[in-house]
């Protein structure tokens, strides 16, 4: 059933009993053309675009838990494309363009909301870094503008721009097209779309092994719901990617860290944009529900435990209370963590692996939600054609051998 105001009214009259299931409850078949491991946003988007743009619908998406229950359903949903390097700009901007029409494409309101993402500069070094990004983005055709502290305050009245605070705000880089979207809706919208095109989404089905022929290529997977054959496998498992790839004997340049986020109790609108500060380690926005959505950097140690350390979230809140002193009296409602997969250059890995038939899409670390549509789109192309899309061509696994890194942490976090 198409979603629309009309369908809502019609169903309301019917007591809302007529809504069909948004996706089929599929049981695994013995064989698929392509198996995708991980029903996060990226995995589901990949399946959707494979079916929609490449006519391949004999696909299974295998998920050990419930779809969208990984980082897709845990993230703080910041979307932006003002990255430093040309390769990243193209990839994230590709995604941003897809965000702009995604609700219509999926007939599912993913609530993409370009409310503006403001990244604060507190030191001379921050200013230099922001300016470099702005220059690079302007050349790349990506909106990103420098604003003064007063302009920042006008854009976000909650912000404290006093000059006498510990790290006064010297200005900010603002991407107006940046914003947020509703994370669950992204997973559900892609799942619904993919399922309608014939993709089997199989939940509660954990992949426990990757099968390979004597000649090396993949032949299928072992799962908690039996063996499934496939000659092409795409692993899209975020923080658990290294575990899966190890099943095929591939060692990944990934470290998995807990990353925490938290929300406050809901209040009436007080903040309409997203504010980030790398120097004091915190960012915040307000959800449509009214909750302040707060996050920061990863925990200090690698771990698969989704319980982050208290001092990490406490430190984030120090910073939030400094930037927005009026929220000090508000209260934390929920705190949680996800396991993020971090590469040495903070850029993703999307493409082939040394094992024939095995493809991987990972390394999105703390910032892959924003890329969901673009990532799925280019990975679908790669899986369908066996060759990378032009936008993911630079994001090879091989770059860690060749040294052709795309270091997005570079201009931000080095010595003065």
């Amino acid at each position: 059933m198409r979603h629309s105001l009309f369908s809502i009214v019609r169903n309301a009259i019917g007591g809302n009993r007529g809504w069909p299931a948004q996706w089929r409850e599929a049981a695994p078949k013995p064989e698929y053309d392509i198996v995708i491991v991980g029903a996060g946003g990226h995995g589901l988007a990949t399946a959707y675009y494979l079916a929609r743009e490449h006519g391949i619908s004999n696909i299974a998406v295998l998920e050990k838990g419930w779809l969208g229950g990984g980082n897709t359903g845990r993230n703080t949903t910041i979307i932006r494309s003002n990255y430093l390097w040309e390769e990243s700009q193209k990839l994230y901007e590709h995604a941003l363009k897809l965000w702009e029409t995604l609700s219509q494409e999926l007939n599912y309101n993913v609530m993409y909301s370009p409310r503006g993402v403001m990244m604060l500069a507190h030191t001379v070094h921050d200013v230099q870094s922001a300016q470099r990004h702005i220059h690079a983005n302007r050349l790349g055709g990506i909106d990103n503008e420098w604003i003064t502290p007063e302009q920042a305050k006008a854009f976000c009245p909650l912000l404290n721009i006093e000059a006498n605070i510990r790290y006064p705000i010297l200005g900010a880089a603002l991407q107006r097209r940046g914003g947020v979207a509703r994370h669950d809706a992204v997973a559900w919208g892609y799942a619904r779309g993919a399922s309608a095109l014939g993709v089997d989404i199989i939940q509660n089905c954990e992949v426990t092994g990757i099968d390979r022929a004597p000649s090396g290529e993949v032949t299928g997977v072992q799962t908690t719901r039996g063996a499934i054959r496939a000659r092409r496998i795409g692993v899209v498992a975020a923080g658990h990617t290294s575990v899966l790839m190890a099943m095929a004997g591939v060692r990944m340049p990934l470290e998995s860290y807990p990353l925490q986020a938290l929300v406050s109790e809901p209040v009436k609108p007080i903040m309409s944009c997203v504010v980030m500060s790398n120097t004091v380690h915190a960012y915040m926005s307000q959800s449509d529900k009214g909750e302040l959505v707060i996050g920061a950097g990863t925990d200090a140690y690698t771990s698969y435990s989704q319980t982050g350390a208290l001092h990490i979230s406490a430190h984030t809140l120090d910073a939030i209370c400094e930037l927005f002193p009026a929220v000090r009296r508000m209260r934390m409602l929920r705190n949680w963590g996800g396991i993020v997969d971090v590469t040495p250059d903070r850029s993703p890995i999307i493409g082939k692996t040394p094992v024939p038939g095995l493809y991987v899409n990972c390394g999105w670390g703390t910032g892959g939600f924003k890329a969901t549509p673009g990532s799925g789109h280019v990975f679908a192309h790669t899986l369908a054609t066996g060759a990378p899309h032009k936008f993911n061509a630079p994001f090879t696994l091989d770059r860690f051998r060749s040294g052709r890194l795309i270091d997005e942490a570079a201009a931000a976090a080095v010595a003065h």
Binding site: I13, G15, S103, Y108, A136, R328
Partner: protein, 926 residues
């Protein structure tokens, strides 16, 4: 003023101390010991809030932390205003001012209630299905309306002036919960002398029996909110919210406790029954009604109907009956309720209707009557309901304890103790067998039956979500928002689960249980920040000469934690003029510079040279004692990580300097390798950054300035050498080094004596026409010489060769960190970005740092950049602008014209050698 629903006697309130307060502008009186909820109930007020989505009128449901409905704002003033407080936990004080939330214009008449009329259109997840057209309308049109309607209370508008305290504690036993089970646990353990902490979120718990034990710390008004690995727990203690005059005491205290053993005695929470119209004000949990009577001497109604599937409601009925309420009927879902409580009720003459239910209620702002399954309409002003009890297992679950479903009792209970953790009492599922019911009350004939009161999630929403394919409880929760309100589903989770399970036709445990997340109840953000605010937000590191610089009129910049003097403007100079003057003075006479913030590491031991060989690209074995060398440190990936001058003081002792912000990173990298890769090396590392103050004396007059104050060192010492001796009578390590290109010395003296030495040198410097200069002049001076600043001219993607520093690589060394990576194909390709100078064609124009370097004047959008400008200044010495940058194949492009982006186009510049001044280096010798 009378309190019509207050009993004659009884309760734990202090009737001798009336307390005046206001709610929505109306004045009321309660008693000391009341909560806002109990005092309002005593005054006959049930309507305390509006629900989140449909704005339905709501009364108080519970008497504790699980309250979903009665959320209010309490404000002492504009800044000390707190939204979303549970009236059931707000303690009354004289003058308390509370207001209701989420309503306009008033609680009694709320325009938002239009949503209730439209409810069929606003079913679970409706917003995912509409508001999509036209493109962009979501953000511009629909979302603002939804945002405006959403939210509950209002955030404070001014910074919170209150203080928050913090305490770390260790104990042998931490007990969460001060009910009978918790106090019992404390009493059992106390005689052994263990250090015990017992916390309860109520204002007073029955701790009198514990008073005699000095080893027991009782923390009332304290919520154990979080359980972290290794028995680390977070507690929030409320210190002043109950006081009329908090004075200047801290408002709350964060306890971070490491406990050897934890006992969870968090009790159980009563469940509502899910039936049509179960949310009208006046309908509440039976146990809560009992609490209001027993603890506060309040009757929640005069004409009461009880609807239950659990024996405990009978005790409540009897208590209310005895206290003077008329209990008109007890409707019990069960066919044949029995047990002593039931007998007591019958004895009291209260009518009990077995196998009965409520299928509808009437009344707008207060329940007026109920309709029973048998079609009877019973007039009443309160309904007490009980669907049984759920153990409060939140903290156990946070501790990663596994929960098991008890089929018979219909609840989840802890699977058993964990190392260092046990559950006691009701929290452990040790509840008297008293019955209960989960799911939708049978025989409903329509009308909204609420599961999650605050978020307005109805039974039909959950059923609908399941029908739409949301089969995991996590999906149901997210799609319907059940359990996601500020009470985190304390009263709703089990019913939601049961309804989903029934809809799926699956046993309840197979639907799964949602994760319990920190915190147990909401915790003030400021509590986590504690004292870390303002100046204390992050420690300020001040260089030893900070005060002098301040007195001399310096403007400072933040560099990491340090405050560094950026320039010393004089008499109305702007930054630009000051920097120009400082630069000229250094080149013409001399300048004094506080370089103390540079990191310093003392590397000592028989293998010190070998250790440095492995950590730095350079070779150290042959460095003579008394000499210095410029060192480069790489990351594993082969990129420049830090640089600095390293001096050899003796055969086995090196004085290593690092960049200012790189200091901790460098020491960490050294320790990491020493401890994990090279444990066989005999080397000891000591950070000496704060021990040595460094006064740089730079410029042609540098030697002359030092000479009168140095007797035991021959100042003819060569460039890049070090000597130990005395400067101004203070023991010193004197370096001859230059970051300006001029003759230069760096005087290292113990930080405590820095001011003395500076004063002496400054007095001398003034005689020579020298000045004090700041970091900005330092940047310009070094740029004129083409010296790099790591982190500005490099960004973690730059190799030594890119910088033209290939000479700093000890080629013959077998290995050093990053060596292997330097051989990777991308690191040796010809067109890597290389460090060059850039001279704008218009000499006055200073390029922007970060500008992209492109081959044409009007680059197309999306075109490739050759590199970027890393540093750019106006050079007073050269009387023109200078810039440094990284350009692909730059060393092969000398003389080529490139274009640098600006905010509005490009400016042309010529690629040049990155040394603009004194290329021969003659000035190093003065």
């Amino acid at each position: 003023m009378t309190q019509p629903f207050r009993t004659e006697a009884g309760g734990q309130i202090d009737r001798s101390r009336p307390v005046r307060f206001s709610f929505d502008g109306r004045a009321y009186v309660g008693y000391a010991g009341d909560t806002l909820a109990s005092a309002l109930l005593a005054n006959g007020v049930h309507l305390m809030g509006r629900s989140y989505k449909y704005h339905r009128p709501r009364g108080v449901l519970s008497a504790g932390a699980e309250e979903p409905n009665a959320l209010v704002n309490v404000a002492r003033d504009a800044a000390r205003s707190a939204p979303n407080l549970r009236a059931t936990q707000v303690e009354l004080y004289e003058g308390l001012t509370a207001t209701s939330q989420n309503r306009f214009p008033s609680l009694g008449f709320d325009l938002g209630a239009i949503n209730d009329v439209c409810a069929p259109l606003l079913g679970a997840g409706f917003y995912y299905k509409t508001f999509m057209a036209p493109r962009g309308a979501w953000f511009k049109l629909y979302e603002p309306i939804i945002r405006h309607a959403a939210g509950l209370g209002r955030a404070p508008v001014a910074p919170d002036p209150d203080r928050y305290a913090n305490r770390y504690a260790h104990c042998d036993l931490l007990i969460a919960g001060g009910g009978p089970a918790g106090v019992q646990a404390a009493l059992e353990a106390a005689p052994s002398g263990q250090r015990i902490i017992i916390a309860d979120d109520n204002p007073g718990f029955d701790s009198a029996t514990l008073a005699g034990f000095a080893n027991v710390t009782c923390l009332p008004r304290t919520t154990v909110f979080g359980y972290f690995p290794h028995n680390f727990l977070g507690l929030a203690e409320r210190l002043t919210d109950h006081l009329a005059d908090p004075g200047d005491r801290a408002r709350e205290r964060l306890w971070q406790v490491r406990a050897k053993q934890v006992s969870l005695a968090t009790g159980a929470i009563e469940r509502p029954l899910v039936f049509a119209g179960n949310d009208r004000p006046g309908i509440m949990l039976a146990g809560a009604a009992r609490t209001y009577l027993d603890r506060y001497g309040v009757l929640v109604g005069k004409r009461v109907v009880v609807f239950t599937a659990c024996d405990t409601a009978y005790a409540a009925a009897v208590a209310l009956h005895r206290a003077g309420s008329q209990v008109v009927a007890i409707l019990d879902l069960r066919d044949s309720p029995g047990g002593p409580e039931v007998a007591a009720v019958r004895e009291a003459g209260i009518a009990v209707y077995p196998a009965s239910s409520i299928v509808g209620t009437q009344g707008r702002l207060r329940v007026r009557s109920v309709t029973t399954g048998a079609g009877l309409r019973i007039a009443c002003d309160a309904v007490l309901m009980s669907g049984g009890w759920t153990p409060s297992v939140h903290l156990y679950s946070q501790a990663r304890g596994k929960l098991v479903y008890d089929e018979e009792r219909q609840f989840f209970r802890p699977a058993g103790p964990l190392p260092g953790l046990r559950c006691v009492g009701a929290c452990n599922g040790d509840l008297p067998e008293s019955g209960g019911f989960l799911g939708v009350v049978p025989g409903q004939r329509g009308g909204p039956a609420f599961v999650d009161f605050q978020n307005d999630v109805k039974a039909s929403d959950i059923q609908g979500a399941v029908a739409e394919g949301f089969r995991s409880i996590e999906h149901v929760k997210r799609y319907t928002t059940t359990g996601m309100a500020t009470d985190q589903g304390k009263t709703s989770n089990m019913n939601a689960l049961a309804i989903a399970a029934q809809q799926l036709g699956q046993p309840l445990p197979s639907v799964g249980l949602t994760t319990f997340r920190m915190p147990y109840t909401p915790v003030t953000l400021g509590l986590f920040a504690g004292a870390a605010r303002g100046e204390l937000f992050d420690p300020v590191r001040q260089a030893p000469l900070h005060d002098w610089a301040q007195a001399a009129g310096a403007v400072f910049e933040d560099v990491g934690l340090w405050k560094r003097a950026r320039a010393f403007p004089r008499g109305g100079e702007d930054l630009h003029a000051a920097v120009a003057r400082e630069c000229r003075t250094v080149r013409e006479a001399a300048g004094l510079f506080d370089a103390s913030t540079l990191g310093k590491v003392e590397v000592v031991g028989p293998d010190a040279a070998e250790f440095l060989n492995r950590l730095y690209t350079n070779s150290w074995s042959k460095l003579a004692v008394g000499r210095c060398r410029y060192g480069l440190m790489l990351t594993e990936a082969g990129f420049v990580m830090d640089d600095g001058v390293v001096a050899r003081l003796t055969v086995d002792r090196f004085h290593v300097t690092t960049t200012t912000t790189g200091a901790p990173r460098v020491l960490a990298q050294m320790e990491d390798y020493l401890q994990t890769e090279f444990p066989e090396l005999k080397v000891w590392l000591t950070s000496t950054t704060e021990q040595w103050a460094v006064i740089a004396v730079q410029g042609p007059r540098a030697r002359a300035i030092l000479a009168p104050h140095v007797s035991d060192i021959d100042l003819a010492m060569p460039h890049m050498s070090v000597r130990e001796g005395r400067v101004a009578g203070v023991p010193a390590r004197l370096f001859r080094v230059s970051f300006t290109g001029e003759l230069g010395f760096e005087v290292n003296v113990p930080a405590g004596q820095a001011q003395r030495v500076w004063d002496v040198l400054w007095a001398e410097a003034v005689k020579h026409g020298a000045c004090a200069y700041g970091t900005e002049a330092m940047h310009v001076l070094r740029a004129e010489k083409g010296y790099i600043i790591v982190g500005q001219d490099t960004d973690g993607t730059v190799t030594p060769d890119d910088l033209g520093l290939g000479w700093a690589i000890g080629r013959s060394k077998p290995d050093f960190v990053g060596k292997r990576s330097l051989l990777r194909e991308d690191l040796i390709k010809a067109d890597r970005p290389q460090f060059v100078g850039l001279l704008t064609v218009d000499p006055v124009r200073v390029p922007e740092e970060g500008a992209q370097i492109v081959p044409v004047a009007a680059p197309a959008v999306g075109s490739h950049a050759l590199g970027h400008v890393t540093s750019a200044y106006s050079s007073a010495t050269l009387n023109r602008s200078i810039a440094l940058g990284l350009v692909e194949g730059g060393r092969g492009r000398m003389g080529e014209v490139v274009h640098l982006t600006t905010a509005s186009g490009t400016i042309p510049a010529v690629i040049a050698e990155p040394v603009f001044y004194d290329r021969e280096g003659g000035r190093l010798d003065g």
